[in-house]
C-alpha cells in the first residue's frame, strides 16, 4: 500500500517537473514568433509610438499574464485579442521570454520618488 502510494506520488512529481521544464519560455524560439508584434512594438520591443507599451526588459511573467488576459478576453483590446488568439501557451511563454531579455529602457520605481 505504502509502496503503491509512493509510486503514485513519485509519478506525480515527475509529471509536474516535466510540465515545468516544458513551459519555460525560450527567447531564441520566441524571436521566430514575433513577426506580428514588431510592427507596433519594434524589433527589440522598444515601441517608438507612445501609445504602445515598451516590452523590452519587462518581466516575462507579466507579459505572459497580459497575453493570456487578451486571449481569454479579461483584458479588452480588439487588436491584441486577435493576435493573442493565434498564440499557444508555449508561444506566449517564448514571446514573453524574448522581449524580457531585450535591452530595456524600463526600470522599477525605486529611487525615483520625491526625496530620492
Amino acid at each position: 500500500m505504502i509502496r503503491g502510494f509512493s509510486l503514485i506520488a513519485m509519478g506525480a512529481l515527475l509529471a509536474l517537473t516535466a510540465t515545468q521544464t516544458f513551459a519555460a519560455g525560450d527567447p531564441a524560439r520566441g524571436k521566430t514568433k514575433i513577426a506580428t508584434c514588431v510592427a507596433c512594438h519594434g524589433q527589440d520591443g522598444n515601441s517608438v509610438d507612445p501609445q504602445y507599451p515598451r516590452l523590452a526588459g519587462q518581466y516575462a511573467d507579466y507579459l505572459a499574464q497580459a497575453l493570456h488576459e487578451y486571449k481569454d478576453g479579461r483584458r479588452g483590446n480588439a487588436i491584441m485579442k486577435g493576435f493573442a488568439a493565434t498564440l499557444s501557451d508555449q508561444d506566449i511563454d517564448d514571446v514573453s521570454a524574448y522581449f524580457a531579455t531585450m535591452p530595456s529602457k524600463l526600470q522599477g520605481l525605486e529611487h525615483h520618488i520625491q526625496g530620492d
Binding site: 515601441s47 509610438d49 507612445p50 501609445q51 504602445y52 507599451p53 515598451r54 526588459g57 519587462q58 518581466y59 511573467d61 507579466y62 505572459a64 499574464q65 479579461r74 483584458r75 479588452g76 530595456s104 529602457k105 524600463l106 526600470q107 522599477g108 520605481l109 525605486e110 525615483h112 520618488i113 520625491q114
Partner: protein, 106 residues
Amino acid sequence: MKRLHLVGLIAVALCAASAAHAEGDKARGRTLVYTCNGCHGVPGYANAYPEYHVPHIVGQNEQYIVNALKAYKSGERTHPTMGAQAQSMSDQEIEDIAAYLSSIAK
C-alpha cells in the same frame, strides 16, 4: 489702465489654453507617484493570485500609461488594487504621472 486689462485677458487666455491641453506636469507627477512605490518600487515584487511580477512602469511610454490608468479608472481594465488607485486620480493627475514616468526612460 487699458493695458492692464489686456495683460489680464492674455493671462486668462493662456490659462485656458494650458487647461485645454491638459499636458502632464512632471514635477507634480514626481510627487504623485509616491503611492505607486509601495508595489512598483519593490524589486521583484509579485502580484498574488495569479502570481506574476508587478510590472516596471518607469520609462514606459506616456500615452500607454494614460490609457492604462484611464481604463483602470473606468473599469474597462480590471485589477482590484489598480482600479481603486486609479479611481482616486483626476485626469490631470493621470497626465502628470504619465509625464513623469515616461520622462525617465533609461
